[in-house]
């Protein structure tokens, strides 16, 4: 990217090091903008969908059309709020936590393939990288819970840690058959394996279909959404790990959660739902790729929202039961079966 910048007439005289820094900052800025705007959009759509499901309106006034700027107004409000510190908090940890949560989502955005040439960093270990960065979130959750010096927050953090770490296993195992099939961890390569008509999508392969459902459900747990929203559980743990946060720090948790929702949906789309391909070859023009990718991801985000307003939540031991005794065995069996079939067929 810094080469592109050096071609601009205004910047051509600058040394290469400055250009690299400039390129990094602007790329970061673009991603940050995407997350902020995207997050706000998801928050608004969550409220509208919730309103629709619950036979009410949701936000209606700010921004004119159906309260479309409500999230912006909320953001401004949160920015202007007093930053309240718990006196006995572990300050460094407590301050770092929202950043870690946000960083997890932020770093994952780097590799999301919106189109063949529309990707921040085309890493060969893209999938692996996303799994790693999204685990950063749990570090934030733990430091928030511990740093707050509040028992409810600590309980939330413990639940969050146990949950995210456990559900990463079925999540990873669900992705593995696809990786075996495509032979690559590069997100672009995985998508290209699904080019052409819709039947090429991994979703429509029976074994990958099982993987897909395990992935979708585990990803709900990964981003702490109902029915797995145990780290927050308003009715039990007051507000879970972010009980003590106000203002912008709270906003970072909030934004991080919604950005994460998009990340897991985008990975789901990449691995199972054909990524940027529409499923009809005639429509697959490069200009439409980002749009198709984003629309599909939005659909999965919508499913998450829809489930949140439909289902009750599990108890913490039931959550662990589902993970260790149901998903992991199924995912392992599925992986084994795929390996055997693949070996036999080849």
């Amino acid at each position: 990217m810094h080469e592109t910048l050096s071609n601009l007439p205004l910047l051509s005289g600058l040394p290469a090091q400055v250009l690299v820094v400039l390129a990094m900052v602007s790329a970061g800025g673009i991603i940050l903008g995407c997350i902020a705007v995207g997050g706000m959009f998801f928050i608004w759509s969550e409220r509208k969908v919730a309103g629709y499901i619950q036979s009410r309106y949701g936000p209606m006034y700010v921004g004119g059309w159906h309260g479309v700027l409500q999230s912006l107004a909320d953001g401004v409000k949160l920015l202007l709020k007093e930053d309240i510190w718990p006196e006995k908090a572990d300050k460094p940890l407590w301050r770092m936590a929202p950043l870690l949560v946000f960083l997890g989502a932020f770093l994952s955005f780097v590799v999301l393939p919106f189109g063949p040439n529309f990707v921040g960093a085309n890493l060969d270990i893209g999938l692996f990288y996303v799994m790693a960065t999204s685990s950063l979130v749990v570090m934030g959750v733990i430091s928030a819970g511990w740093g707050s010096n509040n028992k409810w927050a600590l309980y939330g953090a413990l639940r969050g840690a146990a949950q995210v770490i456990s559900y990463e296993i079925p999540l990873g195992l669900a992705l593995l058959p696809v990786v075996m099939s495509t032979g690559s961890l590069n997100l672009g390569t995985i998508i290209q394996a699904q080019a052409g008509w819709i039947h090429n999508w991994h979703l429509l392969n029976p074994l990958f279909f099982v993987s897909f459902w395990i992935y979708v459900i585990s990803s709900l747990a990964e981003v702490n959404r109902v029915p797995f929203d145990l780290p927050e559980t308003e009715s039990e743990l007051v507000s879970g790990y972010h009980t003590e946060y106000t203002g912008m720090k709270f906003a970072f948790f909030f934004l991080g959660e919604y950005a994460d929702m998009f990340v897991v949906s985008a990975i789901g789309v990449t691995v199972f739902l054909g990524g940027w391909y529409s499923g009809i070859p005639a429509l697959d023009v490069p200009a439409l790729f980002p749009l198709i990718f984003i629309l599909k991801s939005f659909f999965l985000v919508f499913v998450q929202i829809w489930l949140r307003w439909t289902l009750p939540r599990l108890r913490v031991d039931q959550l662990m039961y589902v993970c260790w005794k149901v998903f992991i065995p199924i995912a392992l069996a599925n992986l084994l079966l795929y390996g055997v079939i693949r070996t036999v067929l080849s």
Binding site: A50, I53, Q54, S55, R56, K151, W152, Y155, V226, P227, D229, T233, E234, S235, E236, V238, W309, T310, L311, P312, R313, L314, R315, V316, D317, Q318
Partner: protein, 576 residues
């Protein structure tokens, strides 16, 4: 029937019986303090009486008497239907032997008498203040405690003792096997965490406090504290006229205010032997059932919210909103209705009431259908609710449970069927009962009860005929205006009713009805003046909540929250 019960008791207890009475058909026996425990045990165990349900323990203060306090145990039998009150008289400071070894429900009820009257109970396991603060000086319901005297109390009560916290593992056992862990003597207490569930907690909404000792997320021991919403309803009542108390009854159970209004006026009318016209009776049944429906909508809705299913709450509250619109047009208020009057009603139904109500009930049925479809066979909900907070029939009765929570265990006790009042015997309805007495059964019982109540409301609407809504009895009813203007008797009557209020004849009585949460009782003592001498409410959720800490022992925090929601604790009537 009550006379026979008195004879049984008199023949058993013999010379220790001071007095018996069956005033207003309530069997009441006064015994010496030394014979109290024996009498109570007899009433509970004798096959002819079988008073297995201790409803309430009531204190009354007569400062001019040497034996200053009456302590009254009010009981009911679920098998024979007998209601007996056993009374004893004690001087200031003289202990009464506790009945908490006979009924668990006596524990909190006696604490209340101790708190508000200062009557000590010997051998009571946990004699602490309950409704007032632990720093409070004096006893609020004594006649010599000035009604306007407030006290500032600051230090919160420590519920779990240091010993309980430090030696929790030895006292209550471990839930997990830690035999392989090397635990230093000094570190034992670090295994457990104490948390305050409330009062500032979303599930206890500022009105309840539970201090729990947690092992991981399992509650191994807990204690609860109530009284955050105590506002001296009973003391205030003694300073008001009988009609003026009606607005206070709204605030006892603000979720089903209409049902409470009806319960109170029924009790006073029982004392005065007043018959109300048929239309008035029908409307009272109708509004009492509306109150029940609204209560169950709130209870089931919020219980589901506590389990994480948020949308059901909106479905139910939308339906409730439709009902509230009707209620608002009916009496001008939504929450605090004050719709009934002693001897009648505030005003008649408005034009078009029936059409609007039928429309609203349709919306309620629709909402119940939607929620039932969402939760009844929902695997996650069943995992969270089946077997959680379960209680056996015997235990539930021993703890003094009534209402939907008791019926969820399979006991079909409903005051509307067991001792019908206000014409309930002429309506066709069923009493839904559960099996396991868990959260799931409580939710389903309430849902079915709503359908039954809708049925009753529809029947009541069908039989509504034009007619008077006020009793003809001039002791409670204002004379017509032409009488007031044209005759001295009419004017006197009007004057006395306005200035002195209704005069309830001296005596005591217990009026009861089926509140939304269970048996709602008003024990009334009148000295013949314009104000009540004593009103004691029997709030259905007081005994229910007293068993909460036992109910959640060994369960997880999430289960405790789900259980709490299913019990439908209304702080207004719990704390009064």
């Amino acid at each position: 029937m009550s006379r026979r019960a008195l004879e049984h008791i008199a023949s058993e207890i013999g010379a220790d019986v001071v007095e018996t009475s069956d005033e207003l058909g309530d069997a009441s026996v006064t015994v010496r303090p030394s014979a109290l425990h024996r009498t109570l045990e007899f009433c509970r165990d004798d096959p002819r009486l079988r008073c297995d349900l201790l409803l309430d323990v009531i204190g009354v203060d007569y400062p001019d008497r040497a034996e200053r306090f009456d302590v009254i145990y009010s009981m009911r039998s679920l098998s024979t239907g007998e209601r007996v009150r056993v009374k004893t008289r004690v001087a200031d400071g003289e202990p009464v032997s506790t009945a908490s070894d006979l009924w668990n429900s006596a524990n909190w009820a006696e604490r209340e008498v101790y708190d508000l009257y200062g009557v000590p109970f010997s051998d009571h396991p946990d004699l602490r203040r309950i409704l007032t603060h632990h720093e409070f000086k004096g006893h609020a319901l004594r006649k010599d405690y000035p009604i306007e005297k407030g006290q500032m109390c600051y230090v919160p009560e420590k519920l779990l003792t240091d010993e309980e916290i430090r030696f929790g593992p030895q006292l209550y056992g471990r839930t997990m096997d830690r035999s392989d862990a090397v635990v230093e003597e000094e570190e034992i207490s670090s295994d457990y965490l104490t948390v305050n569930l409330g009062p500032s907690h979303p599930a206890t909404h500022g009105a309840l406090r539970i201090e729990a000792l947690l092992d991981g997320e399992t509650i191994i021991h807990s204690k609860s504290e109530i009284g955050y919403l105590h506002r001296c309803f009973e003391k205030e009542s003694e300073d008001h006229t009988w009609q003026q108390i009606i607005p206070y009854t709204d605030r006892l159970n603000y979720v089903s205010a209409l049902t409470n209004n009806v319960g109170y006026v029924l009790a006073v009318e029982k004392m005065m032997a007043i018959e109300v016209p048929e239309r008035c009776q029908t409307i009272r049944v109708l509004v009492a059932e509306l109150g029940r429906i609204m209560d169950h909508l709130v209870c089931v809705g919020t219980n589901l919210v506590d389990i994480g299913a948020l949308t059901n709450f909106w479905y139910f509250f939308n339906a409730r909103e439709h009902l509230y619109t009707v209620v608002e047009r009916m009496c001008g208020e939504r929450l605090t209705t004050s719709y009934t009057r002693i001897g009648g009603l505030y005003r008649d139904l408005y034009e078009g009431f029936e059409d609007e109500l039928r429309h609203s009930l349709g919306k309620v049925e629709e909402a119940i259908g939607e929620v039932t479809a969402l939760v009844q066979r929902n695997r996650i909900f069943m995992d969270r609710a089946v077997g959680i907070g379960a209680i056996s029939q015997e235990d539930a009765i021993n703890w003094g449970w009534t209402g939907p929570c008791l019926r969820a265990t399979g006991v079909d006790y409903d005051v509307r069927k067991a001792s019908p009042y206000g014409g309930y015997e002429t309506y066709d309805f069923d009493i839904p009962v559960g099996e396991n007495g868990d959260v799931y059964d409580r939710v389903l019982c309430r849902i079915e009860e709503m359908y039954q109540s809708i049925g009753i409301v529809n029947q009541a609407m069908d039989r509504l005929k034009p007619g008077p809504i006020f009793s003809e009895d001039r002791r409670v009813t204002m004379p017509p205006k032409d009488e007031v203007y044209n005759s001295i008797e009419g004017m006197m009557n009007h004057f006395k009713l306005v200035f002195e209020g209704i005069q309830v004849p001296a005596g005591e009585g217990y009026g009861f009805s089926e509140g939304a949460n269970g048996e709602l009782g008003f024990f009334i003592v009148s000295d013949g003046s314009g104000n009540p001498y004593r009103i004691k409410v029997r709030p259905p959720c007081f005994p229910i909540f007293s068993s909460f800490t036992e109910l959640v022992k060994g369960h997880m925090v999430s289960d405790a929250i789900a259980t709490l929601g299913g019990l439908n604790i209304i702080a207004g009537e719990l704390d009064r």
